[in-house]
């Protein structure tokens, strides 16, 4: 119980940018383990709240399959559709195919059923841990290059506290709440304070230690995307050329 209240205090302190919370984490016996536990617990609690909110939203909305059919029936009544059908006789088949394809893509990316929310109880904490580790490692690298003094465990422990703004997602307990970009921005601010306190950096160095990992990840993603497009393009041209 004492441990739970200590972790809650750390998260609340980190959320409100109290430097004492970050210093306490830096001096903890095992900052990495403490950080890991905090991230997993926050992730599970937040995803459980989202599960309740999603279930309520699902129960107060019509089913997607019904909406899909109603919209389809409506579109096929539209004058432009009827006109196109007169010009292209098999347009109904082509349209239906693309219409269903669009809905399937929409479902794949924006499925907000209780089933997918249940999966998030595992996926969200896992995602938070992966992001934390990748960001933490890069941030440690840059902070050390900028004359920071913390160990890797201390960096990871302090940056783990930047998970604190995720508690804003507890509001998703209420259906139809749009949390928006506030969590991401607040997380960035917490990371800045975390790196500044963990490594004893000046504001300028802490700023660069905070943003350089993000810039690095952005550049890496662009390079990977370019490679992907290149490979996909080459494969497509080979396959189409072969056909």
């Amino acid at each position: 119980m004492q441990q739970i209240s200590r972790f809650a205090g750390l998260v609340a302190g980190a959320l409100f940018l109290r430097t004492g919370a970050y210093e306490e984490m830096r001096e903890a016996r095992s900052p990495f383990l403490t950080g890991l536990i905090i991230i997993v617990v926050v992730g599970v609690i937040v995803s459980l709240a989202a599960l309740v909110g999603t279930a309520l939203e699902w129960a107060s909305s019509p089913s997607l399959a019904d909406i899909q059919e109603v919209v389809y029936e409506g579109i096929t009544q539209m004058p432009w559709y009827q006109e196109t059908l007169r010009m292209v006789p098999d347009y109904d088949q082509i349209f239906r195919q693309w219409y269903d394809f669009g809905w399937n893509i929409g479902r794949a990316f924006g499925d907000s059923s209780p089933g997918s929310a249940l999966g998030n109880v595992v996926l969200i904490p896992l995602g938070l841990v992966v992001v934390w580790l990748i960001y933490g490692l890069l941030a440690h690298l840059f902070a050390r290059l900028l004359k920071g003094e913390a160990t890797l465990s201390q960096t990871l422990g302090c940056t783990a506290l930047a998970v604190a703004p995720q508690v804003l997602k507890l509001t998703e307990l209420v259906p139809y709440v749009a949390v928006g970009g506030v969590v991401g921005t607040w997380t960035l601010i917490c990371r800045y304070v975390a790196l500044k306190q963990a490594h004893g950096l000046t504001w300028g160095r802490a700023f660069w230690a905070t943003v350089l990992p993000l810039l690095t990840l952005l550049v890496l993603s662009l390079i990977l995307a370019a490679i992907g497009v290149l490979i996909f393009g080459t494969l497509a041209s080979v396959l189409l050329g072969g056909a």
Partner: protein
């Protein structure tokens, strides 16, 4: 509560000593954020009431459609006859079917009664209001903080953001935002007033408000370097505008060059 009201009063009257006291308070960031969230909740409560009650007293879909049709008819009167006919044929007929689709979707059955869904939607919009305000505030706050630091400011992030959160207080004027004509004027007043509090907060948090003491050692007034504070607050917007102009000019030049080469 009286302390909160005193802080709010001091903020809207730009009382520098109140802002200094607030900056030096324990947990200034938390206090500022709480005030901002309270403002958001008060504003959202009005929208909640309007949204939820409005769902009961909204005109029927037929009446809404008739009103829209009337507006379009008025617009068509000002268009040349050919264009009006084409518009009616190409757009209005499809638009009306579109409205019908919307009505059919709304009429679809849901596991919970519709009234519960309406309540959830209004509640969701209410809770989302302070979160949206907070998001915008933090994004702008980071850039102003950066600009202030580059201009030699000495403030800490916590103190600056906490104090600057008081800039949300004038937005309480938007409680009357639903009043026709007056709403937009009040919006403008709140926005300008908020910007002025941003400037005062930047001055106070970044050491640009220097206390002038009396012979007895009491603070008599503050000498404020408004120039730097104003620059810090508007610099992010200026940089954004310059970037947008640059992007526009570059795309224009590239477009012209491509056009010349291809011709």
């Amino acid at each position: 509560m009286s302390e909160l009201l005193s802080t709010v009063r001091g903020a809207i009257t730009l009382d520098i000593s109140t802002l200094v006291r607030f900056r030096d308070a324990e947990n200034v960031f938390r206090r500022g954020i709480v005030i901002l969230i309270l403002v958001g909740l008060v504003l959202g409560a009005v929208e909640f009431a309007v949204g939820f009650i409005g769902s009961f007293i909204a005109p029927s879909p037929e009446a809404q459609l008739a009103e829209m049709r009337q507006n379009f008819d008025q617009m068509l009167r000002f268009m040349p006859p050919d264009a009006a006919e084409a518009f009616e044929e190409q757009f209005l007929s499809n638009f009306e079917v579109g409205i019908e689709i919307g009505r059919n979707v709304v009429a679809l059955p849901t596991p919970l009664p519709k009234v519960v869904g309406n309540l959830f939607e209004a509640l969701g919009a209410w809770v989302s209001q302070p979160l949206a305000m907070l998001g915008g505030f933090l994004v702008y706050g980071i850039w102003v903080m950066l600009a202030a630091k580059l201009l030699g400011g000495t403030g800490r992030l916590q103190e600056f953001l906490g104090t600057a959160a008081l800039s949300s207080v004038p937005y309480l004027l938007l409680i009357l935002g639903w009043v026709p004509c007056l709403g937009s004027v009040l919006g403008l007043v709140a926005w300008v007033w908020g910007i002025v509090i941003w400037v005062a907060a930047a001055a106070v948090a970044h050491g640009w408000a220097v206390p002038v003491a009396t012979a007895e050692g009491d603070v008599e007034r503050y000498d404020v370097n408004w120039g730097r504070a104003i620059l810090a607050v508007i610099l992010p917007v200026l940089v954004l505008v310059v970037l947008m102009v640059l992007i526009f000019v570059i795309s224009l030049v590239v477009g012209l060059v491509v056009g010349l080469v291809s011709s």
